[in-house]
């Protein structure tokens, strides 16, 4: 009989934090008591909160559509409108959800639909799809679609990159003032940036507990517990949550309570989660006594550079510094740092059919990293949300064969 991992207690609180987030948005949407901004994962959420908006993150809804496995049946609705099955399946499943009037919020929170936006704010630091995605809703709801165009594939970050992005963030203010009917307040903004910095520090600390051997939790746990970092960065609720989670993870690490019982191998996950298969993959790895200890994905909500004293520039730097924005050399060094810190002995690259931006296997990186770090790398094919692109049996065989290979080393 396989030993089950001890559940993470903070999960109960997590559920509350997430439901409060959605209820607050739903209430505001129905009563028009507060303005609502939709924001991409690295859109200027701090600015939006600082200007009194409630912030809703469609990518989080995308992940929920994936995790609830509603995505695969909803994507075709967007395909019919001309959104190709080859583009971002967050986009297609979210638009499909809107068209079909079906959302996981109904079952999970008894909420009819995502909150109605007053403004949509994107950052193209990750991809162009976010702008196309928001533009759809801009047309549907007849509200402004504004955003930041980040430089991409960067090696060294130059001052002019930062100045440019900082100016673009500032340029959003007049439009946001008009939508919100409130004047921009620098002090309030700085407060939010300080809170957001704190969220980031706490989230980083939580992730870093996985450097313990055995790791107190897994990538699969982290994808669930990252919810508040995604939807609540810059709020005190998120920070309170991570204080609790961090305490628990530290205790687990100290007492040797593992995320995967009898951990034998440690691997790194590069790429998007396969949301609809989190549970089965988590069980598979656990049965192979292999802990996925860290991932680029969960690290993407670490914004080290935030500084309330220089809110615009530091936001620009924090957003531009991210892995997804950088060139191959930077990414490889980044993963090497992760390797040294988390001490994993293999890397799994997820080639997500509909997200080239998070599929880093496509330009020879697994081969180069395997040589550089002298550890095996595996590429599995799948998708974040579109399960039609994923063969569970093939993925399982690949992962099992990979662990066999780790055993041979």
């Amino acid at each position: 009989m396989r030993v089950e991992a001890k559940p993470i207690e903070a999960t109960k609180l997590l559920k509350k934090v997430m439901s409060d987030h959605f209820y607050e948005l739903d209430e505001a949407s129905r009563t028009k008591s507060k303005k609502i901004a939709w924001c991409t994962s690295v859109g200027p959420a701090e600015l939006l909160r600082g200007m009194g908006f409630l912030v809703y993150f469609p990518e989080n809804h995308g992940a929920m559509l994936g995790a609830s496995r509603m995505a695969t049946e909803l994507i075709p609705y967007a395909n019919q409108l001309g959104y190709s099955p080859d583009i971002c399946s967050y986009l297609t499943s979210d638009i499909g959800s809107y068209l079909a009037k079906k959302t996981p919020l109904q079952k999970s929170y008894n909420i009819e639909a995502p909150p109605r936006p007053d403004v949509l704010v994107f950052n193209t630091n990750q991809c162009r799809d976010v702008k196309d995605w928001f533009s759809f809703y801009g047309r549907e709801f007849d509200v402004p679609v504004i955003g930041v165009f980040t430089h991409r594939s960067l090696g060294k970050i130059q001052d002019f990159h930062i100045k440019d992005v900082a100016e673009q963030i500032k340029a959003l203010i007049p439009i946001l003032e008009e939508v919100s009917g409130q004047r921009f307040d620098m002090d309030r903004f700085k407060e939010v940036v300080a809170l957001s910095k704190k969220t980031s520090e706490l989230w980083r600390a939580c992730l870093e507990t996985a450097s313990h051997i055995p790791s107190p939790w897994t990538f699969f746990d982290a994808t669930i517990h990252m919810g508040p970092a995604v939807v609540g960065r810059g709020t005190k609720e998120a920070n309170e949550y991570y204080e609790v989670l961090l305490k628990e993870l530290k205790e687990r690490a100290k007492e040797g309570i593992p995320g995967v019982p009898e951990e034998r191998h440690r691997v790194y996950w590069e790429g998007m989660p396969i949301w609809g298969k989190l549970r089965s993959l988590s069980e598979l790895f656990s049965s192979l006594k292999t802990c996925v200890v860290a991932s680029t994905y969960c690290n993407s909500w670490i914004f080290d550079q935030l500084d309330p004293e220089e809110p615009f520039e530091s936001m620009a730097l924090a957003y531009t510094e991210l892995f997804i924005v950088r060139d191959e050399d930077y990414k490889e060094s980044y993963i090497q740092n992760m390797y040294e810190f988390f001490r994993f002995n293999g890397i799994i690259f997820h080639d997500a059919k509909t997200c080239p931006n998070n599929s880093n296997n496509r330009y020879g990186m697994p081969e180069r990293l395997s040589k550089r770090l002298n550890i095996p790398c595996l590429v599995i094919n799948g998708d974040l949300n579109d399960l039609r692109c994923f063969s569970e049996e093939q993925a399982k065989t690949n992962i099992e064969a990979f662990v066999e290979q780790l055993e041979e080393v």
Binding site: S370, P376, C377, V379, N381, C389, S391, E393, Q394, T397, N398, E400, A401, E404, Q405, E408, V409
Partner: protein, 266 residues
């Protein structure tokens, strides 16, 4: 004690039974069908047919392949990647690249001098370069699968096919027929397409070992592989049994190397 390897592939189920000296003493190959569990049992019974003392001496079984978990009498499982590599290295020790062309997928496995895996890749997502591709084309061309090898050999003027996808290739093949191309030239073009799909998966070592049913039934494909790649291409005896044979070798190792205690019956 006998050592049994059962490879339940998506298309065929294969059984290999080894004696203690690693001699192959029993084998069976049959369609996997829809009831993997029953097929595995039937294949085992048939392979064990000429071994009267099997039950008495006992056996240890490792299963592999797509349906490896459906083999109730297996004691352990290994992936087909491990098993094909095992067989290839057993016959041709050294740094090799193993290419398995199966019914539904391909594998390219690289081994170092000591037989440890350096890397492996499986094709996914589509039938390009697999047995399924040739099966589909044999239907389209209305020629029995078994005759493809002989036909390809006759070709004087191979027709190159450019498409990747099976459906596109089918359309391309129809187009070639319409243009009056000879069937044997098209079939050779199909063989080349299979090889190209497989060769582009990884850089090959000088020594390449090819396994799998497609190789077993189409020796001309191996000749073409030699010609195109310029590499040394080796084929183990019974290439279609390579997965099952490798599983049996694992069974042998588990018992003989570890002197593992096993109950006699099961």
């Amino acid at each position: 004690m006998y050592y049994v390897g059962v490879d339940v592939g998506a298309s065929r189920t294969k059984v290999a039974i080894l004696e203690r000296n690693k001699e192959l003493v029993g084998q069976d190959i049959r369609r996997s069908g829809t009831d993997f569990k029953a097929t595995a049992e039937e294949a085992f019974t048939s392979a064990a047919d000429g071994i009267p003392d099997l039950r008495e001496m006992g056996f240890f079984c490792v299963s592999t392949g797509y349906g490896r978990r459906n083999v109730e009498f297996a004691h352990e499982t290994r992936t087909e990647i491990a098993c094909h590599a095992k067989t290839a290295y057993f016959f041709y020790p050294g740094a090799i690249t193993v290419i398995d062309i199966g019914g539904q997928d391909n594998k390219v496995i690289k081994l170092d001098e000591k037989g440890r895996r350096i890397s492996f890749k499986m094709n996914r997502k589509c039938a390009a370069g697999t047995g399924a591709f040739l099966e589909e084309m044999s239907l389209r061309l209305n020629i029995p699968l078994e005759e493809m090898d002989q036909l390809a050999r006759k070709s004087q003027d191979m027709v190159e096919l450019g498409s990747y996808c099976t459906v596109f290739t089918a359309t391309e093949v129809l187009e070639k027929i319409r243009q009056g191309k000879k069937v044997e030239d098209i079939v050779k073009g199909l063989f080349l397409s299979v090889l190209k799909r497989v060769f582009e998966m990884d850089i090959l070592s000088q020594k390449v070992v090819m396994t799998g049913g497609v190789v077993a039934h189409n020796p001309y494909l191996v000749e073409m592989a030699k010609e195109i790649s310029g590499n040394e291409i080796l084929v183990p005896p019974f290439p279609q049994l390579a997965g099952a044979f490798g599983a049996a070798l694992f069974a042998w190792e588990l018992i003989e190397s570890n002197k593992r205690e096993v109950e006699d019956e099961k």
